[in-house]
């Protein structure tokens, strides 16, 4: 075994935390207790958990519209996350941002934003700042396959390669840009190869295998710290929920435009179940311990929902607050 029991348990707990957190939104969305658009990360947990396990608090992460997992894996507080999704004053963005603008700068999660590819150059910027300041910090940009249609990605790759910046470009390829399958957006060439003309090391990895993810992320982080960045990783994965909300494009419509067979196939590759099987087979944790952990995390999620529901809305008199610092 390459990894300590504690490390594997931590990784498993993080994946569970993300899964339970994401699934906990389904019911309140359907009941319209949550109205802000929510892009669930269920099915992609291994990537956030695996990548962030290779980072320290001093490293930087930028997310996108589907970033609850990145926020949690980077150490963001779950109560503040859930309160933000209810758009409450106690949320991580004080109810001004909602699900798509979550932030935990104190943990190095510098922010998420839903303009596709919009945060990619921001990660290049934090990497440039690290270089100017001669700091070791590595910056990570998480984006989806849809972002490969945006020109700013290629501009960012060019500049990051030119200046050898410590930035890791992570494409979570879940095969769909909102409703549109990747074959309708791109010619059939693997995404990871887009980095190669810029001389950037790049690789495609199974995005549902948390240990493989951790291993490649660790390598990318090491190279970046040695001044051998940037690095590009394409993770192949699949969202188990719709683009926005539990099912599909229209939040709460209970319809999915993806073929049922395809969804079923990917359910069999569920990264959380897969890692749980590994944990059991390798006797990292006993079944009873797993149940205990699950209960603990479910309780934590439930408490966070209670906290959010009981939290106040922002005051209407403060609608203009925070326009300027």
């Amino acid at each position: 075994m390459d990894y300590s029991k504690e490390f594997l348990e931590k990784l498993y707990k993080m994946m569970l935390k993300i899964r339970f957190c994401e699934e906990s939104f389904v019911d309140p969305i359907l009941k319209k207790e949550i109205q802000c658009p929510v892009h669930l990360y269920s099915g992609e947990e291994a990537i956030a958990a695996g990548v962030c396990a290779a980072l320290t608090e001093k490293d930087y992460v930028f997310g996108n519209h589907r970033s609850h997992g990145h926020y949690l894996a980077k150490g963001g507080d779950i109560k503040e996350l859930i309160a933000e999704i209810y758009c409450k004053e106690t949320g991580c963005s004080k109810g001004r941002g909602g699900s798509m603008h979550i932030i935990a700068p104190e943990k190095g999660f510098l922010g998420a934003a839903p303009i596709v590819a919009g945060t990619i150059p921001l990660a290049v910027g934090s990497a440039l700042a690290s270089k100017i300041r001669k700091q070791e910090a590595v910056s990570v940009s998480f984006f989806g396959d849809g972002a490969t249609g945006e020109g700013v990605l290629y501009e960012s790759l060019n500049f990051a390669a030119l200046k050898k910046l410590p930035v890791i470009f992570i494409c979570e390829n879940n095969f769909y840009s909102t409703h549109l399958h990747i074959r309708e957006c791109r010619p059939p060439a693997p995404i990871y190869k887009i980095a190669q003309p810029f001389g950037i090391s790049s690789i495609q990895v199974d995005g549902n295998d948390v240990l493989k993810i951790f291993k490649i992320a660790e390598k990318a982080v090491r190279l970046c710290r040695q001044g051998k960045g940037p690095f590009f990783i394409e993770f192949l994965t699949y969202r188990l929920r719709g683009h926005v909300g539990p099912d599909d494009n229209i939040q709460g419509s209970r319809a999915d435009i993806r073929p049922a067979k395809e969804v079923e196939e990917w359910k069999r590759k569920d990264p959380v179940k897969r890692f749980e099987k590994f944990i059991l087979e390798n006797k990292i944790l006993e079944e009873t311990k797993i149940q205990e952990i699950k209960k603990q995390i479910q309780d934590e999620v439930k408490q966070a929902h209670n906290f959010a529901k009981q939290s106040p809305n922002p005051l209407k008199e403060q609608v203009n607050k925070y326009v300027f610092k």
Partner: protein, 327 residues
Amino acid sequence: MSLSKRKLSYGLAINEALCQIMEKDMSVFLLGQGVKSPWYVGATCKDLLDKFGENRVIDTPISENAMTGTAVGAALIGMRPVAVYPRMDFMIYAFDPIINEAANWHYMSGGKSCAPVVFWGIINRGGEQAAQHSQALQSLFAHIPGLKVVAPSTPYDAKGLMLAAIKDDNPVIYIDDRWLYGVEGDVPEEIYAVPIGKGIVRKQGKDVTIVAASYMAQEAIKANEFLEKQGISAEIIDLRSLKPIDEELLFESVKKTGKLVIADGTWKSYGVSAEISALVSENIFKYLKAPVQRVALPDCPAPANQVLEKAYYPTKDNIIEAVKKII
């Protein structure tokens, strides 16, 4: 502290601001196209590369979107980037990081984080450069919540507002005009700041208020020389900042004169002059003794041909004409 004065050109005043602040504050860096070039951005970047090196004076690939996003990302972790656009027209490629990200960031993060970038756009007009190398886009930026917009007209303000913009915790659009680079004026050698949001009375008067910013403030002063000879006493206000705008100074003057001419170097429709006019009629309508006059660019793209350029850009003559209409 007495500020020692000597004459400096507008371009060199910006250069001195950058030089002094970069020496003092390691978080300040400059990026954009042409910062290494002796001519691309006037004399504004003179010697900066030699003094501060390639890590802090970054001549960038032609990628305005990513370069601007890079500046924003660096600012989010405490740097103070100055991003220069040798022609303001190029900033249109950077609207996403400026508007969607920088302008909104402080608000949408509930005040947790801010993007103190100076986006420095140069109105590089004239010389038959035509529609994509001549635009003055300050109204577009001033429309956006979360952005401050400054447009200095003198070397003193060029230096002082650059320093204030860098110091400000918010994103600031700093607009200058190539036609101002040769203007000379008194500039203190020390570091100082011109407060953002404060205009200045360039000349006191009682018959009419002429309000302007950027290059048009210079034209207003030229217009005044003629008006004075005609016995017309104009009060000239140089706004210096378009957002926030110094309403108090503006209203005080219009209350006194009862007549207002707005001289603005941007398009007439939906722009700076429309905003000023609306503010006055909304707040101090009863003091107006004549309709507000607007001198602005016609709603037309910038032409190439010199004859057309002359017809296109407003000058002191247009200001004089506007004043005469209401005097």
